[in-house]
Symmetry: C2
Subunit: 209 residues, 2 copies
């Protein structure tokens, strides 16, 4: 009941009591829609129904918001890989889990994903470097899981882990460009069709890899 | 011996006699490397060893060069699809031909491909519309060839032509982002590994599609 009390006491008509979390979520939406450079503190204020200047009681500036939104995006993607690593399944199971998890992050957290994928170049240099390292580690997790699958015999011996990781990530990374929430497929269906394409290909009777 | 004579009479130190073709090729290189907005007529002049103002004896402006370079890129990609349509092979043969042809265009004409893929948004509106239509037709050619393959029984019945065309084009379109001329694979090898991934997938014994 706390939030109801807070809302009543500050007045919803005046925008209610906006928290730092509200500011970060609004920044996610606007960065995803208009890009980092297309979003001003004034735009953020309008989105939140508060004065641009009051936002500074929550954050030091737009740059802090970019670091935070992209950090959240990175944490979602990292979480998928970490969970797959903890799983007891075969390498193929883990690979499927990683593909499906990526699809669910993009679709379930589309604003953070979009900002992470398209606006990272505008981060301060040290943060930008961390994101580059994180992306390298992400690709490495795919390479290693593919190598495990070849070793256990469930992935075709002719598969090259490096280029195959790139092919899989190409399919995954394109999702945010073509996915429309108004489309007729949900995340589960897209993940299933994507995995079917990656695992089995499309040609009848074609040898794997 | 003509070119030697021409070079001697105009003086190589002054840049020789530059043709319109030289200007277009230099524009391809610079647009690909620095982007359309990152390239000035002065940069072009330096690249060609001629005064920026003399370029105007060949072209009306930078915009005309963008239209021309992107038109060449589009023609290369369209040529691949047109050739596959004329071929007598099965739908699967034609699909493989389209994938391989795309890889060879990107690698063999990397400057025009990069400009086509990344700078089209800066075209004048009417030209931009034509490129959007061309891309739609390109995707449609993939959808139709996949549908033909399902009809002839060589592609798995469970394959959806629309989403599968998107998956294949995702793999193809990412090539220009990761390909390095200094890498250890040539266009034939990349095309073969890409086709193997698309046709057969990677999991041993996984049903197609």
């Amino acid at each position: 009941m706390n939030s109801v009390g807070a809302s009543a006491s500050t007045g919803a008509a005046a925008g209610g009591a906006r928290t730092r979390e509200d500011v970060v979520l609004a920044a996610s939406r606007l960065f995803a829609k208009r890009g980092y450079h297309g979003t001003s503190m004034r735009d953020l204020g309008e989105e939140l129904g508060m004065l641009g200047s009051s936002i500074y009681s929550h954050v030091r500036g737009k740059n802090e918001l970019l670091v935070e939104v992209i950090g959240r995006g990175a944490a979602f993607f990292n979480g998928v890989v970490a969970e797959a690593k903890r799983s007891e399944g075969t390498a193929v199971d883990r690979l499927q889990q990683m593909v499906s998890g990526h699809v669910h992050v993009v679709i379930g957290h589309i604003d953070e994903s979009r900002t992470f994928l398209f606006e990272s170049r505008f981060l301060p240099e040290a943060d930008r470097q961390k994101i580059i390292e994180m992306r390298d580690a992400y690709e490495k997790a795919y390479r290693e899981t593919i190598r495990d699958g070849i070793d256990e015999g469930s992935l075709a011996a002719g598969v090259d882990p490096g280029i195959t990781a790139i092919f899989i990530l190409s399919v995954l990374n394109a999702l945010i460009r073509w996915y429309r929430p108004s489309g007729d497929r949900d995340a589960d269906q897209i993940a299933a069709e994507m995995w079917s394409f990656i695992a089995g290909g499309i040609v009848v009777g074609e040898p794997d890899g």
